[in-house]
Amino acid sequence: MVATLLTIMVVLLLLNFPMMIPLMVAPIIVVFLYFPTMDPMILMKQFSTGIEAYVLLAVPLFIFAADIMTAGKTSRRLLDFIGSFIGHIRGGYAVTTAASCTLFGAISGSTQATVVAIGKPMRERLLKIGYKDSTAMALIINSSDVALLVPPSIGMIMYGLVSGTSVGDLFIAGIIPGIIVFLSFAIFSIIYAKVTNIPLATKATWSERLDFTKKAILPLGFPIIIIGGIYIGLFSPTEAAGISVLYAFVLEVIIYRSIHIKELPEIAKSTGLVTSAVFVLVAGGQAFTWVISFARIPQMITETVLGSDPTAIYVLIMVTIFFFVGCMFVDPIVVILVLTPIFYPAAMDAGVDPIHLGVVITFQAALGSATPPFGVDIFTASAVFNKPYLEVIKGTPPYIVMMVIISVLIIYFEELSLMLL
């Protein structure tokens, strides 16, 4: 049965079927082949169960908020602000890129949106001051990973959904790993700039800084509201997502007037499109989870992969490998939906903290989606920057090395994830 499932998934994926098809078809075929007396209606019900969870409402709302702020000029405001303070130091533009991706990541839940919003304007500036294009693109792709680690994070919402873990806690737990990634990229950027002699940018004047600060101060309230609001218990992740829509609306429509209210349905439509494309996967993923649970496949697989009485660290390492490889090939959302129900029970038996596991998994999702050959962010960048694939991946190795090292730290020191809780 495992072989049947695997074959269906892999073959359909490689043939470029929309991913919802294998997720929805594989369970039905398994039912027909192995449980012929069962009523396939059960799986139909799972489609709606999958997307009925309250916490999932956060997904369209966070995307909507980020869409509103991208349609306005928020991302530019953020990077002007950061650039005016640190742009002039050695490697300043690169550090600005990493910092802006981190900050925008605290508004947006997806790495690809961050590549688009920050990557486009920052790449121009990096090229102008003398960075090689491959260096600039690698920096952008990898810094955008942080969006998946710092709240809000669609990957964490998906993990929370499948595992029944608190999304609020996951959000808080991702902050420190996100900051570590940012800091290591920043330090690397400074060293790189020294070694390759990247020229210094002119220093912004204090009046410019004041001006950029004024322009950025309101968008900066955004992460404070999301993270602060969840942290002090003002609202649940879903409510935080709703409030961030309200905040984006007030900012862009009422205060800055960069968007007319009549444009909102158009923005909402594109949010709705993305939501639908993601949620059909969640719907199919739930049917998939149902059938593998019913057939006790997680128990079979984990017995084979993990042995009978694995240690927590061993489980985490195997989880890391499976998720990393999975995310190199397939969209992280699908990987989380499919692999989490398989590994979660074994990890709990081995005594892994569910929040820690969520951070490890999300980290691999971020890393995998920026890793050649098939990380989705690479293709996004290739498309957005109109650059050939090889050019895009040329600069990524140092970042992957850093990410792997950080990954080891996060696995071994669960406090890095749990200390803020």
């Binding site: 409510e239 997502a241 909402a268 699908v334």
Partner: protein, 185 residues
């Protein structure tokens, strides 16, 4: 032909309306409930349910719209590396198979809706018949199936380009700067 073009336009407008306003409704419900709770200490009893209905409707009614725009998430890595001819063949055959699957799913989920209808289940807050909400599932699959057939058809009719959807030419052949909007997630 003209009739079909008008019908296509109407369906498109309806789908866009559903997608956009579902998101807006979800935002209004969640924000409204949060504010009502914070200010009046009163939870809107219908807020969660209305949002969930909007999610179900948007998800399934969005299948055909996403297909039209070529925006369903797929593992396109190998596809992207393939030459024009291979992509053309894949883009003609796969949509047909997808359509077959979606029609099958439409059939089964319609049976499911019928079951729910017969069971008389009502939603917990609004106490409306639950099957009404679920009609979006077979309908969405069915409309999606039709759209994937159209995606196949346009690849048969128009020989000079590869189409990911009736409204989306393959980005592999395009000037790539145009598609940053299409790589949203």
């Amino acid at each position: 032909m003209k009739f079909f073009r008008v019908l296509d336009k109407v369906v498109l407008k309806i789908e866009e309306f559903i997608l956009g306003y579902s998101v807006i409704i979800i935002a209004l419900m969640v924000v409204g409930n949060a504010l009502s709770r914070a200010i009046f200490s009163y939870s809107l009893f219908f807020a969660n349910e209305v949002s969930q209905i909007a999610v179900i409707v948007a998800t399934f009614m969005g299948i055909s719209y996403a297909a039209r725009k070529g925006r369903h998430i797929s593992m396109s890595a190998f596809y992207d590396l393939a030459p024009f001819k291979v992509r053309k063949i894949v883009s003609t055959i796969i949509p047909f198979l997808v359509a077959v699957v979606l029609f099958m799913l439409a059939y089964y989920s319609a049976l499911y809706v019928q079951n729910v209808r017969e069971s008389g289940t009502v939603t917990s807050a609004l106490e409306m018949p639950a099957y009404i909400v679920y009609i979006a599932i077979p309908l969405g699959f069915f409309m999606g199936g039709i759209q994937f057939l159209r995606n196949m058809w346009i690849n048969i009719v128009k020989r000079e380009d590869v189409y990911l959807g009736t409204d989306a030419k393959d980005y592999n052949d395009e000037d790539k700067t145009k598609i940053d909007e299409a790589t949203h997630l």
